[in-house]
Assembly symmetry: D2
């Protein structure tokens, strides 16, 4: 019948359109079938080995970060995170140490040969950050701060882009495209939970987003188990889920003394909890210490 | 200061209240610390071994279900699902074979020594279902159909309770309590995705719900990877995530010829895809065939 | 170009399909362009005059309901609501007086010549309810309890169907179609808020749903300002919004002594607050007392 | 009993805490009981009279904006909106005319004595914008771009702050506080719909947010009926709802030829539709033309 033919044409047209759309994007797997591998201080991300990123929510002092750095070294972890500019809901909450924080991260990085990751929140600071950081993070609240994305796309430094609080996967991919379209293809994506009606967790970890992002783009995909759950007791099971589902890595928060942390005290692990976490992760068979680490 | 003391009292009171509340529930782990193990046709669920439940969305004919049953046997799977009463958005969609479907399931169960699971949608049919089924399923749309829950609590038959489309974890636990409060403690919970703004998947699989439900209750917890994602290409990675996160089992849909299925054609695996799925699951190290199966 | 032609065909096909779909539904305005007017105890709903439905959350005693009934009469309101079967999250919360509650409502109805509305939660009770009630309500949690909808469609009694907690408008319309398809076309719809991430209100009142439902169907549409907001201080402004947006009526809760109410104490008005609410509503020019009432 | 006393203390403590929190905020009504009235080109906003803001989604040319400006004058509307910097999901969509757009707006403003409103998306442009605009808009995607908020708080120019796509009301209020805390108290809030599972509308207009924001803060509150619904057919009913619920004004989009608009073509009114919209709004009794306009 005529209607049947129409339906066939309809479907064909729809697929055609979607195809065209995806083909056009630089971050799309249709544009580049092979995985993007990002090299950071000699360590590769996205090459099939799964990585951990850990560190305190906020940089508070050299000593605090140094203690975490030592714990990371022990576990053979290369990537240290720590917030210097903190986007906080209230203007009266601790806003981070700013450039002072970046300096501390740089010192730590040099002392321990670690790669440091920190969030930048305004285009103006991107260029400055290049001198201090190994990876520039764009946070969830700024995922559609397009001027910031363009600035991040204009420097030669790997970018870790977090999914917005209620961004669709398509919007997330387009945000990455903003960066790539300006010339910087060293992008890593990070699922960090989405906002839903459920209040048992801080956000709802959208675990399915990981295989979708791996299919649709050629970029490495991380899972931030700390911000997605907001609960220390869920870090281990969700980290396992993230590794099992095919993430290129897991990001989590560690603090020498979470109870006195200037932000997010309820969800960070202390050092012994962190070593326990790593031990359990390895025993599960889902995570392998890197060569370098295990040989030490 | 006075305010500090108030805050302490406040916290103490809050915890006291929550404690009391959880203690009162029969399904709560505070009430019963050890895991509930449900025995179905001689096979245990919730004992630490992870189970699979598979089968067609709808029972369409004896031959259709029989073919799926054979595939299950080959994989050492004991639990066969299949819908006889189908809750459908439109009154003009296929509504299931009804009691005829239950009879087919019973025949299949006897022929292959499988345990059969099917959804019942009205209190009136619960008693009848007891004669045909090994497990009675309460579906997502009926999670707060309290009369149905009470009826399910009044029979001596294991219940598989699915989380509502937008139920909180607390509401889910209370729905289970409705069943238990009527005397039936053989309850299995099933996370099946929640409704969010994201349209890339049919629902958003709330993977964190699994460890929370395992902590809060003593009941076995399944993950339905088919209805949560609605995408065949996501069944394998989400099944891995479910097993890694600590679920007691995974539920998925298999149909001899999904293209002609009377419901949910886009998300069911065909038989070869199902064997491939099982092979990959085993190779991942996350799933172990049961003794019985591997010895055959 | 070819692609442009494809797009045109695509659009045409899409509209054709949607048209067909809507035409098929008995509740669709495409099927019946003129408004359905439901007559209840001689009073019309859906005829352009806007109605109020008010009453306690739960029927607790004859005296309690009688007091509310008198307040309604004073305001010229014809429709009294009151819950006899209460669907509650926990099995240990007050579950309503059941049939005893229906009897009280019937007595009140006869005494004051009011039309009484109450929720029925299981197919088995529908027939019984016909003798007691003027309108049978299907609640939000049962919007997709299809067996209940079919039972409601099989009796000759007006139905007030509430939108599910996270039902789409399309699902809501299809739920109404379940009732109509069984022969009962006297259906009134009721928007009562949807579940979102926002916690400032109990639910999020989806005010846009009202004009959409009026366009898509020929059925009267109410707004339940009590359950959508869950806040006494928002009843007046949201009632005004509902009347302004084109609803056929507003539903709200009134209780002689909300502080001791057995359910929903925080959101019900007491009698003086209710008279104040009515006074403000009339003064806003958005609501007109019915002829009958103002002449008394 | 002891537990009862605990509960009372608990409640008291809770209220104490919340009170303290709200008192601390400069935008809170607890801090300043009387309404903030913002004066823009001699016209007051927040003084009890309800205002309209209208204009094209994007500034495309002088002629385009001029045509809309004339239509606004005819209706006695003082506030013209138009986007010069457009935050778009894809980097390949039209991004606005930038500073060229601001210049066009300034010319129009001077020609017709209108107040012009446009979105600024990066801190760097805020100071420049002061010379061109009467009101600086902060868009939904930038509601938690805290550096932008701080920059907006440092200039002497009224700010229209839109609610984020999935911001809670508390986060919205805190975003306003970021502006106020830097010294600029001339802030107007704008509800523009939130992201939910419902797809019948572009967003879900959270109409209850208006009275809540009016209670919690002393700032004027607008409703953007265009972005919240995304449907031309819903502009009139939702504008009525917004005025009825107590908003200080309504924002909507008008374009001389929506079909060829460079953005949002499906949701803008053309000029005759706009005059029809205004006529209906006045006839509803919910909107009054300003003195100046009606005297012409």
């Amino acid at each position: 019948t005529l209607q049947h033919i129409f339906k066939q044409i309809f479907k064909a047209s729809l697929e055609l359109q979607e195809d065209d759309h995806s083909k056009a994007l630089l971050v799309s797997r249709k544009k580049q079938p092979q995985d993007t591998i990002v090299t950071i201080r000699g360590e590769k991300v996205g090459n099939g080995e799964q990585r951990l990123i850990a560190g305190p929510c906020s940089v508070e002092s050299f000593e605090q970060v140094d203690e975490v750095a030592k714990a990371l070294k022990k576990e053979g972890i290369k990537f240290l995170r720590g917030g210097a500019y903190k986007p906080r809901t209230s203007p009266y909450d601790f806003q981070g140490l700013g450039e002072e924080g970046l300096k501390i991260l740089k010192e730590i990085a040099d002392k321990h040969d670690l790669a440091v990751i920190s969030e930048i929140v305004t285009p103006h600071d991107i260029e400055k950050a290049v001198d201090y950081l190994d990876v520039i993070q764009i946070g969830a609240r700024n995922m559609q701060n397009f001027e910031l994305l363009k600035a991040a796309g204009s420097v030669d430094k790997p970018i870790l882009l977090k999914r917005g609080l209620s961004a669709t996967i398509q919007e997330f991919i387009n945000a990455a495209e903003y960066i790539h379209s300006k010339g910087n293809g060293n992008i890593m994506l990070c699922e960090r939970g989405i906002r839903t009606y459920e209040t048992a967790t801080r956000n709802t970890l959208d675990i399915s987003a990981v295989p979708i992002l791996k299919q649709e783009t050629h970029l490495p995909v991380f899972v931030d188990v700390t911000h997605s759950t907001g609960r220390r007791d869920l870090l281990l099971p969700t980290a396992k889920a993230a590794l099992a589902v095919g993430a290129d890595g897991v990001m989590t928060e560690v603090h020498p003394d979470p109870a006195v942390a200037l932000s997010d005290s309820a969800q960070q692990m202390d050092i012994p909890q962190f070593h326990e976490f790593m031990k359990n992760l390895e025993e599960s068979g889902l995570y392998k210490k890197t060569q370098a680490a295990s040989s030490k």
